[in-house]
Amino acid sequence: MKIQQLSLFAENKPGHILGPCRLLAREGIDLRALSLADTQRFGILRMIVSDSHKAKALLEAAGHVVKVTEVLAVEVPDRPGGLVGVLEAFEGTQINIEYMYAFPYRKGETAILIFRFDDPDAAIGRLRAAGIHVLESGEVYGR
């Protein structure tokens, strides 16, 4: 139900995410989804990968600071209002979205939304109650 996301600290300078990405590529780790959050000085590379344990061990051994956090993945129809249907499930609740990112799926028929909630368990409850499909980890990693 919850998906493991890797976050990596990177300084906001040319070439600083090449190293970790090259390392993962060499070890045959596939990036399923990724988002780069940035400030003027530093960035956080957030990734969902095919083998998060191996990726974390590899990145740490190479001296990177990596954190694993649990996020939720939701599949929605890729059409106007697809996201709104999900957001409405939280209308009137205190559940906060820390951040989110999205990518198209099934050749544009659907989209996958990745959410970082402050309270993922409460969020799962709301999504289920609203009849929204929360993806299992196998559905995301193994697609």
Partner: protein, 441 residues
């Protein structure tokens, strides 16, 4: 099990600690005159410096006249390497020690038989001030060898009549086994090594609170009140600070007493002054400055107005323990570390304190000084650790802001904080290079 420390037996060796102030001054003046005369007679460097100033040993008529004498600095000991500062022929020297200099040649220090006896006596008095007595079992984990810590504490412990285990430093598992199996009651080491021993004991399932060890005499490096609280709460022992330096004698220049409110200096053998490190002027009692020490009894290597580079201040009033010896505040920093940024004195140790306060443990950091439009800029680069890293931008920006505020609070000036990737700040095998000053570029 801990035993009560209240009933400390009478220690005759501590008698000089209670010398009436006027007697102390008379003793100091007589010893100062003898020391200056000896150095004048036998140490070329000292005699030349006196003559440059038109001074002779007769110029010392009162204790205040000491301020007319030239300073001695560490470089003088290096320049005269190995034996140029000796005032005794080698036939009278019974011991040599040397400091491991971080750059170039070490400095060599010498002791006559009488010097070793004086050293032993101040170490006996140091242990006694910490409540150590005959019957105690002292685990001496200071390094034995050219470093003065090991043998200094060893002679002091034996002189006191305690049992000394000369285990020296290192081999932590064996340290813990000995502490446990031999019923050790007192440990001597550097505070950082003892913290390491505490961690290792916990890993081995040994709880020091359950052992008879009840006191630690820690020195040879600056440490803080928060380290003391941590040591005491984790082990149930009393942690005492001892001060000394090889150039003067080794450990035993000053020590805390049961009150743990500053370090008493053994003023009958070492004459202390506090000076302004910039101007060299003697500061009024109570002002913070650099500690300058003159040996009053040393034969083999008298030191006249030796600049310790340690920053401290005399504490006011008489210690509630009853000793008449003056106290200095615990030494937290050294003047040769001092930076002047926009006219404000800044010590790397203050930066460390701020980082430690925010992060809980000290991250790798570096201070970078630049000058922009004629104004000093201070940047502190801090490596991100797994403990503080977050996947949320807001949390990292908040960490950054907290660091800026903590630095502002401690230093009184605004520093820019840059979070950097791990392993980007260069590591050093010896002393860490904490400061990069690009202001003159």
């Amino acid at each position: 099990m801990k035993t009560a420390t209240d009933s400390i037996p009478y220690q005759p060796a501590s008698a000089p600690d209670y010398i009436p102030t006027e007697h102390l001054a008379a003793l100091q003046l007589a010893r100062l005159k003898a020391t200056v005369a000896r150095a004048w007679d036998r140490v070329v460097l000292f005699r030349n410096r006196m003559e440059e100033r038109g001074l002779t040993p007769d110029c010392i008529r009162t204790l205040e006249d000491i301020a007319r004498l030239p300073f001695t600095v560490k470089a003088d000991l290096r320049d005269t390497y190995p034996f140029g500062m000796f005032a005794s022929p080698m036939a009278e020297v019974v011991r040599l020690h040397a400091s491991s200099g971080t750059t170039g040649k070490p400095i060599v220090v010498a002791y006559t038989k009488e010097d070793v006896d004086v050293w032993t006596s101040v170490m006996v008095r140091s242990f006694a001030a910490c409540g150590v007595h005959r019957g105690d079992i002292i685990q001496n984990a200071y390094g034995y060898g050219l470093f003065t810590g090991g043998l200094g504490a060893h002679y002091g412990g034996e002189g006191l009549g305690a049992t000394v285990i000369p285990i020296s430093g290192g081999n932590t598992d064996r340290q813990i086994m000995v502490m446990k199996d031999f019923g050790v009651t007192v440990v001597c080491s550097t505070p950082s090594y003892f913290l390491h021993m505490i961690d290792r004991a916990a890993e081995l399932g040994v709880d020091m609170r359950e052992l008879p060890v009840r006191a630690g005499v820690f020195g040879a490096e600056p440490w803080t009140e928060s380290m003391r609280r941590r040591i005491e709460s984790l082990t149930g022992i009393k942690a005492f600070d001892i001060y000394g330096l090889s150039e003067i004698i080794g450990p035993g220049v000053g020590v805390e007493c049961s009150r743990q409110q500053g370090l008493h200096l053994f003023e009958d053998h070492f004459y202390p002054e506090i000076i302004d490190p910039e101007t060299g002027e003697v500061l009024p009692e109570g002002a913070e400055g650099e500690l300058v020490l003159t040996t009053l009894s040393k034969e083999a290597m008298p030191m006249i107005r030796y600049r310790t580079r340690d920053i401290t201040a005399f504490l006011p009033g008489r210690c509630p323990c009853g000793r008449s010896l003056r106290r200095i505040r615990r030494i937290g920093r050294r003047s040769d570390d001092m930076l002047i940024i926009r006219g404000v004195n800044v010590f790397p140790s203050q930066v460390e304190a701020a980082l430690l306060e925010v992060e809980g443990t000290l991250p790798h950091y570096q201070i970078i000084l630049t000058r922009q439009h004629g104004l000093d800029q201070m940047e502190v680069q801090v490596e991100v650790t797994p403990e503080v890293f977050s996947d949320k931008i807001g949390a990292l920006e908040e960490l950054n802001q907290k660091l800026v505020r903590a630095l502002d609070h401690v230093l009184g000036i605004r520093a820019e904080v840059t979070l950097v990737e791990p392993q980007t700040i260069q590591r050093s095998e010896g002393k860490a290079k904490r400061v990069i000053d690009r202001r003159s570029q």
